[in-house]
Symmetry: D2
Subunit: 358 residues, 4 copies
Amino acid sequence: MSSFGTSLRLTVFGESHGEGIGAVLDGVPAGYKIDMDKVLLQMARRAPGKDKTATPRVEKDFPNVKSGILNGVTTGAPIACVIENTNTKSTDYSNLLKTPRPAHSDYTAYVKYGGNNDIRGGGHFSGRLTAPIVFAGAVARQILESKGVRIAAHIASIGSVSDESFDPVSIDSELINRLNGEAFALIDRSVEDAMRAEVEKARLELDSVGGTVECAVTGLPAGVGGPLFDGLEGQLARAVFGIPAVKGVEFGAGFRCASMRASENNDPFYYENGRVVTKTNNAGGILGGISNGMPVIFRAAFKPTPSIAREQDTVDLEAKTNTKLSIKGRHDPCIVARAVSVVEAVTAVALLDIMGAK
Amino acid sequence: MSSFGTSLRLTVFGESHGEGIGAVLDGVPAGYKIDMDKVLLQMARRAPGKDKTATPRVEKDFPNVKSGILNGVTTGAPIACVIENTNTKSTDYSNLLKTPRPAHSDYTAYVKYGGNNDIRGGGHFSGRLTAPIVFAGAVARQILESKGVRIAAHIASIGSVSDESFDPVSIDSELINRLNGEAFALIDRSVEDAMRAEVEKARLELDSVGGTVECAVTGLPAGVGGPLFDGLEGQLARAVFGIPAVKGVEFGAGFRCASMRASENNDPFYYENGRVVTKTNNAGGILGGISNGMPVIFRAAFKPTPSIAREQDTVDLEAKTNTKLSIKGRHDPCIVARAVSVVEAVTAVALLDIMGAK
Amino acid sequence: MSSFGTSLRLTVFGESHGEGIGAVLDGVPAGYKIDMDKVLLQMARRAPGKDKTATPRVEKDFPNVKSGILNGVTTGAPIACVIENTNTKSTDYSNLLKTPRPAHSDYTAYVKYGGNNDIRGGGHFSGRLTAPIVFAGAVARQILESKGVRIAAHIASIGSVSDESFDPVSIDSELINRLNGEAFALIDRSVEDAMRAEVEKARLELDSVGGTVECAVTGLPAGVGGPLFDGLEGQLARAVFGIPAVKGVEFGAGFRCASMRASENNDPFYYENGRVVTKTNNAGGILGGISNGMPVIFRAAFKPTPSIAREQDTVDLEAKTNTKLSIKGRHDPCIVARAVSVVEAVTAVALLDIMGAK
Amino acid sequence: MSSFGTSLRLTVFGESHGEGIGAVLDGVPAGYKIDMDKVLLQMARRAPGKDKTATPRVEKDFPNVKSGILNGVTTGAPIACVIENTNTKSTDYSNLLKTPRPAHSDYTAYVKYGGNNDIRGGGHFSGRLTAPIVFAGAVARQILESKGVRIAAHIASIGSVSDESFDPVSIDSELINRLNGEAFALIDRSVEDAMRAEVEKARLELDSVGGTVECAVTGLPAGVGGPLFDGLEGQLARAVFGIPAVKGVEFGAGFRCASMRASENNDPFYYENGRVVTKTNNAGGILGGISNGMPVIFRAAFKPTPSIAREQDTVDLEAKTNTKLSIKGRHDPCIVARAVSVVEAVTAVALLDIMGAK
């Protein structure tokens, strides 16, 4: 289903060109202050127009909160927000039902839903659905922050250009504050131009690029998570893979540790100011599916956005023949910058759920 | 919890040195033939002793089926199997409660369970718990096979040595049959010696190595899975990350697609013998979280096994000081070969669950 | 949580005097026609003003469907509806935070939510929340009807006045059609006046009455449900007890069978027109938690509505003293007639979920 | 599925005449002392032979704990117990596959499982499966007791003979202690002879009787549960209806409140020794789905046990004709006394789950 969680459950609804999209966050504990300006800031980081790599399609993403927050404080009842859809041109999508766009969900949704799904703008599979997800995450993160848990992600790479990585052992709260407010979040701001150049180059070539996002969680106490299928990695991965375009998730040293020796990969324990810490953090803050108190670090790989103007080979599902397709209209040549706030959002919801939503 | 699934639920129980370990698979449809010899074959692939890279610790893993299978046919009631624990030496693990082994779950379980967990042999976090998981997967896979769905994994890499990869577009059933029966599963058997040499080298250096496992699913019809948090990637990832030592999961081109252009990454559609297929398969058989009928391909990264004989830095949780630790006893310098059957097992259970367990 | 279901999940949100209330129904299969007029009819049966036993408070319950239904057909994506709140007077509820109304949720919600819950009009506990529940049920029932499953409930009793019961062995589709359209649903319409008289008597005495609702499901094939905790009774009961004011649920002969002999209670099997049926139906259509093809029959008990104008004893939670309370405003002296459509609604959602939402 | 729960999950497996039956309780918090003698006492209360109304079939119900409890303390890992099946005569059940016993699950399981289910002794639907349920409940109740929560049930009625009811406002801990140890639990022991006489009369007439069980929970703090579908009534009802033979569940005044006025049914609040209590307790301790601190009281109706020696009408599923059936062997003419411990058990598991299993 378009929902996940156990004690805190997030349900997302809406189709790109339908009446409205939104989310319901059920299980939020009562009594927590929610600053709507901070929520809007997170949603702004996600919205196009704020970042030069995005599309000029205007989307009004104002979240109308229908319930669950009264006088700026959570009531304990489900928090529902609705974002009305306005100002989108449907004519760009008219022939999709019979000629599926490669790398999109058109074909698979056609099979699953027997052709009944709303394909306009990608329907329920549209990246637009990440707007209410960011709303929900923005609420969850404020509750987490009141417990000392911070989440910060940045663009780890776009195409062939990489940003500096987090120091997995220690992440400065100043850095976290800065990243949390950036629409094009980078640890090393000097790589921004090179990244934007890669995107622009792709755009000019009627193409698109992918990238990776690195996310860190600090302040998570040790002992959160569980063994086997209740592990933190699995629960976070399930949430992150729920974001459209994600094709890989790795924790700590991730795929690199596959070619490491234990003598390099094992993180030794030692006491620092009475706290148990590790010298290195290849584990990404998680051992046996449970947090050990070190920063939780993970990376998500985003495939290049499928909608490109170049002509592509596809099939005509009605005529049952091969055919060609050209996607009209303006499309994002790269969604990685926008994805940063979405990664933080699903992480916030997943963590608050895992921590028991109290 | 140590369980997952919706229509088909797998619950695993047991501690490495406790009375017994086992699994309950609830929701299995009735009327399917289960060949116990095939189940035992899968369990044998996992067991040490069968493969030169493993430890001489003998484990008797015979699965006593308590319920759910009558005269070789599933009854529809939960299938429970119990594996009695015998012949393990406890003395190797006596000081772990206060001096946690680096990269193991000792410390995190200590925090979560307040020191009450059974730490002998890693307790409920022991790799031994993968035995009942393989049992459950072996049952699930036979049901899937009767529906034309095949699962095959192989060692993609150990240390710096790699095996050939699957041809993502087309996987031969002969290859699948061969791999399904191998304890050291490789597409290109000629790399075996080099892999075993890496492991032996690590062993002689009192170290261990990690690796990756590549898994393919063929015959999965298009339309399986769902949007957002109900996506196939998320559900499979959740299952695979439940296997101890997994630190990364990627689908199709995975992390590679992050540096690709859409013009390379998009898989064009075309008709072949009346079926919709794709020319390439960077999507790993999944679009928008739903299968498209092409082979589902994914890779999991396994960190090097943490137990090495070298002296390591750790803490003394009672004295609250730094100290050193040497792990006695014989330990697997590499568990990747054994992990292959476990990856197939969790994949089988997850897929049967996603397909509605009918 | 304010949600339930496995393959079909219903989430309800909203507070009586908040911005809006609504529901999200996630997992609805695609391709089913939804007649909105029929949906509105069900919602009208629930709404006050249509029935003389109800309150003059006007509620505009028009369900704005935001997603999931396109051109009158389900798309397979979550169906979300929002009902905007208008025209309610808040002044009637101002002192509830410190003086809880007896038999209401004021006190328990105060404890659970630390006083942060929205208590206006009962907040998230208000009977008003049954409006979106009826919407969701109205959608689910149309899908069930296309599979031959019909649901019909009626007022079994109000106070001391009883209606005729269903013939548990055979229920006429004409009767079902009639009941489905009535705001004051009765098998024997001649008892209506006596029932209304009981309600009016209570109203004049500044009191209220309770009652029971009997519900039947026809056309449910045998084999639906499961053993132990997956039984039909438990899943339906969980849904029905979710309706505010329900204090008891019984199936078939229910509490009566506790004083019966098996020789009376056992329903003998026999063949009728090639179908297996039972001579009597004390089982209420369910054996071992699984449907046997006979009508599923159950009854729900509704306590008298707590809000009465008489002065009542309560406590002052701030001063921590005993005090008295008089509830102002007009309140329903009986909600049983309205509850009929709500019982049908939750039954529809629960059944579609149990049947796998296909 | 044969399992329920969210933070604490109970899975039951086994078939009456299979290898073994058992349960896995996953999510039990670590560090709690479990007294196995107390567990065995609860299981003894359930076992036949201990009470004159039961069958002479001997069942060895010793629970072999495989994991989760070490040195008498919960480890936090799943607790699994297996009860080996011995000493049952299979010959009593040979013709059931084609001639279903009225009021049993034979027919419905036949339809659901296509005839593949193990019907011997009722298979997975056998009352025998309540043995591992009582084991799990016995563990859960000790954890609850350490938090001050007590559970006590008694035989409210057998046939036409009733026991005294609990004083819903105040239940003596002495009474609770006494009831917890009785195999034929009664508040007023003087009705025992009359009850046993009803059972004996039925037995001599080759018949059986049903009855009701009343259960109380004391010490549950206010604030437990939630609104709508997260209500205590619904979750407890779901657990109780999971017990074979239950046909009705009511809370507090239950079905009686349907004919009451609010002026009688509303429980006024007042302060007593600084605590908020109610003068009466028609609510059964639950308001708006949430506990109010008063004793939670509910009743469950048990149908008369279906297996009687009299000849009954049934069908021959192979020949598709009507036929007659006589059930051989000795059967319980009344299971109500045994059901008391089972009702307490599922209540314990459900409550510990609802309370977050901490």
